[in-house]
Subunit: 477 residues, 2 copies
């Protein structure tokens, strides 16, 4: 007897064959119909029990969450909702799930409740769909880059380099937490630590990716990054995954082309490969939308939003143009923005980005050529001396989903910027070496993976798109 | 004029076309022949300079390591060593590389020297080949699992769970390093820390992967893991990448089948996709072997070793059989082993594993059914009450490359083991929940990614197969 996954059975439909499946009980109706799921697909397999000849004690064990092996014949289904079903001839109970204590019962649980049960929530339709899409999206990302001649580069997670300054960092140490060794000045003596210096968790693999791009040409990272920011929002995690492509000889225009092509390709890949899960998630989102006041509901369904991104050009707008648009916008004139846009140089807030994307252009937007003083030191200074070749991709509902730039390839300009920021040049000796030896125009960007999973699945809280979210006060599991 | 990567040019060979390439100078001979490399392939592109009409000052900038854009016509090559070359019509220097200071000159550098220049070593043939193979091997791993119905699961990196006890851990903290807050007992008050408790870097994603396997059926992790062990060897890193598949309803035999099929498939994938790099690395290894005494040289070349693994069955041997073989072996009888094998229950050392693989069976070996007391608490106890369903895959030259087991699915047995080990059950409440609700037979294993890259590339030191190795006293870059 051949063992199948439910996805295989529903795809191949070997009607008439004796088959075996393993899975968990979703529901058991009328002492007769077991809806079995094994995680391979959102769909359950209906297993019909010959209850008149079945062992009553065994049937008592068939409750939601129990793990079963069911053998029988695959037949065309007479009932609605499925094309095939198993006429069960034997049931083996791997493990029971006491209905009194098993938390994942066949009813609606709040996302907040399920967050407390993160080890079990993936047994629900919503989370299993999200996590399958997350997996497929990961593979889409790797596939895109590998097909296009990029090499995957594992940037270091523990870093002794604290020069990027992209945010608060987590210290990594094996020193005694209570009584660390101290040096002659009474400061903690990190030369005694595991790495012989103070080390932190990385906030970005970009600088290291640049070293590889300047040898392999086209590279990308895909790894965890960390921010020790005390942000308890639906958009922030202390531990999240980031994708950072970096390409030698690409200027900012080529970088924008890459970002747009990449994003469209991976979303199309998910549309092609996760149809069932996306349909389920579309229904979930539209149910959620119905609980909102009419004027706050999205005009598009989940699939419409995804297709819209794939099918439309991203609007490319310089920061300077965007400031003009915002300054003359209704919410600015009527003082509806929390932060009014008065002059060139202002840092854009989420409300401004959303206005541009959702109200003004009504499509994804790439803003470029930002003022130098609101962007990072490594970005290429334009000939105007006041803007840098930075770009942000802005998405409806999400805001900034990609941030990137052409990098400053000129040694002297980079050294001046580092000096102006009071960064010790010695900290970046290896980064500056790239400008000393065979320097060239190069560009890259970072995509926050969980933000993209949120966009693709329609989940509103970033904690619900990663298996075990790490946030302030929470590192359970 | 179309811009090409060198890999594309050498593959498509659009002879007669005007083309443009960017890359770095490997060598410049006779003021005429530039060997250009852009990292897309191990092969250089020969660019022939019309030196009689060239700007002399420009040609002076064409030194090893300089970044150039070269335009010209692709023609069939008259010279040896290449089929096509560019007749250069224009050369643009992106960036120079002063021969007096650029460390990567066209001569043999020691691996030790290059480790100090980890940001530049990837510009050498050896390291660019290793890192391209590493990238392809990563993608092979994702491809294998995705094609076989596995879902990629990102296990958490920061963990509040310290129950696995697989080794020394790195503490992650934002508390003041010098004066951490203390509680009323004078101990460090981790409730004040970022996550409200003491947290560490993960040593394994297995326990979390199990939670996902018990919902999605077949999952795998591929992420960084950490060991704060003070091991300064050619086999150990403090930060390394690990792959951990976990499969619901798989017993130990199915787990061994999976490991063998997986390993063979990914090696075959690399053989199919990295031919040029592997041939280069084979040559490098055989040069290295020639510096060794005759009796220490490997009998097989790199490619022979890889094909051998793909084409032969892994020998499956129980621990008990292995002990018999070792006890009666010549090195044991002649007291050549450092640790003599006297009785059942002995923990096998690297010398014993290598004897079994390299001398006795002369093929990869899977040892299984180890004594319970030398293996982890979560492994399935056999009916004999003294062995567990553990397995290790042993490779020539490398030793243990995979460690795995069928997991203990019985709540009561697992609870007893946890108690015997003095682990607080509360620490593992969620792990035990898997045995309370819908438990089932399940299995998985861990593959140390860098060990596999070492095997595939023939590199002897694990520091040379990861971009920025983290080892005691070393977290540079």
């Amino acid at each position: 007897m051949k063992s199948y996954s439910i996805k295989e059975l529903l795809t191949k439909q070997p009607v008439g064959d004796s088959v075996e499946v393993n899975g968990w009980v979703k529901t058991f109706r009328s002492n007769r119909f077991i809806a079995l799921n094994d995680g391979s697909t959102i769909h359950n397999l209906q297993c019909v029990v010959d209850f008149e000849n079945a062992d009553e004690a065994l049937l008592k064990q068939v409750t939601t969450g129990a793990a079963l092996k069911i053998s029988g014949t695959l037949v065309e289904s007479q009932g609605k909702g499925q094309t095939v079903e198993i006429q069960a001839t034997a049931i083996f109970v791997h493990g029971t799930a006491d209905p009194e204590t098993y938390p994942i019962q066949p009813k609606k649980h709040s996302l907040e409740f399920l967050r407390e049960k993160a080890h079990l929530r993936v047994r629900t339709n919503t989370f299993s769909a999200v996590m399958r899409v997350r997996s497929t999206l990961s593979f889409a990302i790797h596939s895109y880059f590998q097909q296009n001649g990029f090499y995957y580069m594992h940037a270091p997670i523990i870093t002794g380099s604290d020069a990027e300054g992209a945010g608060e960092m987590f210290r990594v140490s094996t020193l005694d937490a209570k009584k660390p060794p101290v040096d002659e000045n009474g400061e903690v003596d990190f030369t005694e630590d595991f790495f012989g210096k103070e080390t932190n968790l990385t906030v970005s693999g970009q600088l290291e990716a640049e070293t590889y791009a300047m040898a392999l040409g086209k590279v990308y990272t895909f790894g965890p990054t960390f921010r020790a920011e005390n942000s308890n929002t639906s958009r922030h995690l202390a531990e999240f995954w980031m994708i950072e492509p970096e390409v030698a000889f690409n200027d900012l225009a080529a970088n924008m082309d890459l970002a747009e092509d990449f994003i469209k390709w991976i979303i199309q890949y998910v549309l092609d490969h996760c149809k069932d899960d996306l349909e389920f998630l579309e229904g979930r989102l539209s149910d959620e939308e119905k609980t909102k006041p009419q004027n706050e509901r999205s005009e598009m369904t989940l699939l419409e939003k995804l297709k819209f991104v794939v099918e439309n050009n991203f609007k490319r707008v310089s920061y300077t143009e965007a400031i003009d648009i915002l300054r003359n916008s209704n919410p600015n004139k009527k003082k509806k923005f929390q932060y009014l846009i008065e002059e060139w140089g202002a840092d854009l807030q989420s409300e401004h980005e959303r206005y541009l994307v959702e109200k003004h252009f009504k499509c994804p937007v790439i803003l470029f050529d930002y003022p130098a003083n609101i962007k990072a030191f490594y970005m290429r200074l334009n000939e105007d001396g006041k803007t840098v070749r930075a770009m942000d991709v802005l998405f409806p509902g999400i805001g900034e989903i990609v941030g990137g730039s052409q990098r400053e390839e000129r040694l002297d300009v980079l050294q001046q910027k580092i000096k102006a920021l009071d960064i010790d040049e010695k900290e970046l000796w290896w980064y500056l070496d790239l400008r000393r030896f065979g320097t060239a125009v190069h560009s890259g960007f970072g995509l926050g993976f969980e933000r993209m999973v949120q966009f693709v699945t329609g989940m509103g809280n970033i904690r619900d798109v990663i298996p075990y979210p790490r946030t302030p006060q929470n590192a359970e599991f």
